[in-house]
């Protein structure tokens, strides 16, 4: 499963984003309440004071302003007052701060204001408005905003930590959530796969908590029970049909054989032989349908045996060598030694025989047929190629249907059940068959993953 495609992964990413977003929002609101609003209030206060002092200067002159400023600095206040008054030629008339920018800033500046008291030194931050009086005198008025500044610093340096921890917590929470949800979803898909694999008794576990997943599981289980009932009833019907039809067929054959055992005219003998031949054909078609149905629907697991696939393939190849030779078809095999799969040797052998039979049947004399088998990654892969007419791409999906015949091969012998049996055997072993183009001809690729059933 691709990580980015996984629902639980996306869920946990969403979880992290939402979680981090909420924390950022709370942090933002706190910043606004504890930093932005007080800072704004301080600015307003300073702005009002500066305007009032400028007005005072115009009315009362420089000396009065200096007195006013000194008095203001001495007055105890929640926010300590700062000021500096500088003449246009750079002479400092009065100041209780230092380190202002040389060039007039004409606006807001933040200065470090060191306060000395009782031998101690305290670093304070001041918010200062750099103001030019009409005669060019520079007036700086400010207030201590150290408490606001501290909070801002703390928030700024804390934000990275908070964000990191938030993402970590979000990831842990998301992981727990996706594991919990993923486990429930996996339980559903495991049950579904068991059913697809032929074990119709597969059910979704229900935990009895009555949550959404339990309700989904219960609904799916009802559906699966219904499917099982239907398949079971189809199987019962087909078994009954088998039983009901095979017995009259056997009787028909018995009667025909009885008739044929008496000396008869050549014409009668020929017709009886033909009739017995037809019965045999019916019986074999019937046996094939039943066999396919049994392979597909068999719910109990057969004895799982580790098979020497190399030996089975060699046997099948040897069985068909003669037939290829008779038709002057070059038949080559390349079977890696020691290949194993688990499953049913008769079924695999028969499926390989059907494939080789088809390959030789449809390949014209002088053509070639190859059987290859080997291991690739964790797959055991059998490939059978021929130089016959192949199967048109549009019909490749349908040739495994029962009785499906390609229009161009309608004349060839067979009932159109060979590939149905092959695909049933492949499905039974949890393996896949792919029909492809070997231009010209057909390439059948049969891959077993790990070990068969």
């Amino acid at each position: 499963m691709k990580l980015a495609n996984s629902f639980s992964f996306r869920l946990s990413v969403t979880h992290i984003v939402l979680f981090a977003g909420s924390v950022a929002l709370i942090g933002g609101v706190y910043y606004w309440l504890s930093v932005a609003i007080p800072l704004n209030a301080a600015k307003n206060q300073v702005r009002v004071e500066a305007a009032r002092l400028a007005h005072f200067y115009e009315k009362n002159g420089r000396e009065a302003l200096i007195q006013q400023l000194t008095a203001r600095a001495r007055r105890p206040a929640a926010r300590k007052a700062f000021h500096a008054l500088i003449t246009p030629d750079g002479k400092v008339l009065s100041a209780n701060i230092l380190g202002w920018p040389k060039a007039p800033a004409r606006g807001w500046v933040r200065l470090e204001a060191d306060l000395y008291w009782e031998g101690g030194e305290d670093d304070h931050e001041a918010l200062v408005l750099d103001y030019a009086l009409p005669d060019g005198t520079r007036l700086m008025v400010g207030r201590d905003i150290d408490d606001i500044d501290d909070r801002e610093e703390t928030l700024k340096s804390g934000a990275a930590w908070i964000l990191g921890v938030t993402i970590l917590l979000g990831a842990i929470g998301g992981a727990f959530m996706s594991v919990a949800i993923g486990r429930r979803i996996d339980a559903v898909s495991t049950a579904a796969r068991r059913v697809i694999g032929g074990d119709l008794s597969g059910r979704v576990p229900v935990f009895g908590s009555g949550d959404d997943f339990d309700r989904l599981g219960e609904t799916l289980n009802l559906m699966l029970s219904r499917i099982e009932e239907l398949v079971e009833s189809v199987r019962r019907v087909s078994d009954n049909v088998a039983h009901e039809l095979r017995t009259p067929l056997a009787r028909l054959r018995a009667d025909l054989e009885d008739l044929a055992s008496v000396e008869r005219s050549l014409d009668q003998q020929t017709r009886l032989t033909a009739a017995i031949g037809e019965v045999e054909r019916l019986e074999s078609i019937f046996a094939a349908i039943l066999r396919i149905a049994r392979i597909e629907n068999r719910s109990e697991q057969p004895d799982v045996v580790e098979l020497d696939l190399s030996a089975i393939l060699a046997d099948a190849a040897e069985l068909y060598e003669v037939s290829a030779e008779e038709k002057q078809i070059a038949f080559s095999t390349s079977i890696a030694p020691g290949l194993t799969v688990s499953g049913d040797s008769d079924l695999i052998f028969q499926a390989i025989c059907n494939l080789l039979d088809n390959a030789i049947k449809y390949t014209p004399p002088g053509g070639n047929v190859a059987l290859l088998a080997g291991e690739a990654a964790e797959y055991v892969v059998i490939t059978i190629t021929d130089s016959g007419p192949g199967i048109p791409a549009s019909e490749r999906d349908r040739v495994t249907e029962r009785f499906y015949r390609i229009a161009s091969t309608a004349g060839a012998a067979g009932a159109g059940l060979g590939l149905s049996l092959v695909s049933a055997v492949a499905a039974r072993h949890g393996s896949t068959i792919v029909l492809g183009d070997d231009s010209p001809g057909l390439r059948v690729t049969w891959s077993f993953r790990g070990s068969g059933i």
Binding site: T247, L249, A250, S284, A287, A288, D346, D357
Partner: protein
């Protein structure tokens, strides 16, 4: 031969017993498992033909009871269940051969014949002789009229099986089961092609053929024409 046929379907049983009688066998019939069990216990038969699904006592159950008493009479199981699993179950229960319904009467007759005259495997044979054909099983050498015939190991095994059952008809599916050890109906003439190869090597240079085709059944290896 004395054969016990335990089959509940009247017409199938009639057909089988008529066929067996025609080739000279003596047939006792049972229509259910209980009666079949009494008959099997009361008399020594050459072969028992046993249907799998029977009223009162199931075929496999019956077979287990017979085997539990130390009776080793060859048993041919008949069943509408042609699955490999079913065959394995039948053979495990003590059956000697398994035939899926429907079957050709000739197939049944051939199998009964081979079952009844099966050689006891106590003494290991090292040499088979059919007419002027000699098969050395240890050296895997085939000679006809003193002349060595080369063959593949598969051809050798086909010949060996035919020779062990010389004089008795052997069907195509019996060959597939015993020579290739796979159980299914091949449905094609693939076995015939192998036999015809063998026949070429065996009979080509000789006036008297040994390997004969039995129409509707299969093949037989036989010295007399």
């Amino acid at each position: 031969m004395h054969i016990l046929l335990i089959e509940d379907d009247e017409r199938v049983a009639g057909h089988i017993s008529a066929g067996l009688q025609e080739v000279g066998h003596l047939v006792d019939r049972s229509a259910d498992g209980r009666d079949g069990l009494f008959k099997a216990a009361g008399e020594q038969y050459d072969v028992i033909i046993l249907d799998r699904m029977l009223p009162f006592v199931d075929g496999l159950k019956l077979l287990q009871i017979i085997r539990a008493t130390g009776d080793v009479t060859p048993v041919l199981i008949l069943s509408a269940l042609g699955d490999v699993d079913e065959r394995v179950k039948g053979l495990r229960a003590g059956g000697d051969d398994y035939l899926a319904k429907p079957f050709a009467l000739s197939e049944l007759l051939a199998r009964v014949d081979v079952l009844a005259r099966r050689q006891p495997v106590t003494r290991e044979q090292v040499r088979l002789v059919v007419g002027d054909l000699e098969i050395d099983l240890l050296g895997r050498v085939v000679k006809r009229a003193g002349r060595r015939i080369d063959m593949t190991s598969r051809e050798f095994r086909i010949l060996e099986y035919l020779a062990r059952n010389a004089g008795r008809a052997v069907t195509r599916s019996m060959l597939l089961e015993n020579v290739w050890d796979y159980h299914f109906d091949p449905q094609t003439n693939i076995i015939d092609q192998h036999v015809s190869r063998l026949r070429q090597k065996l009979d080509r240079d000789f006036a008297q053929p040994l390997l004969h085709t039995v129409r509707g059944t299969g093949y037989v290896l036989r010295a007399d024409p």
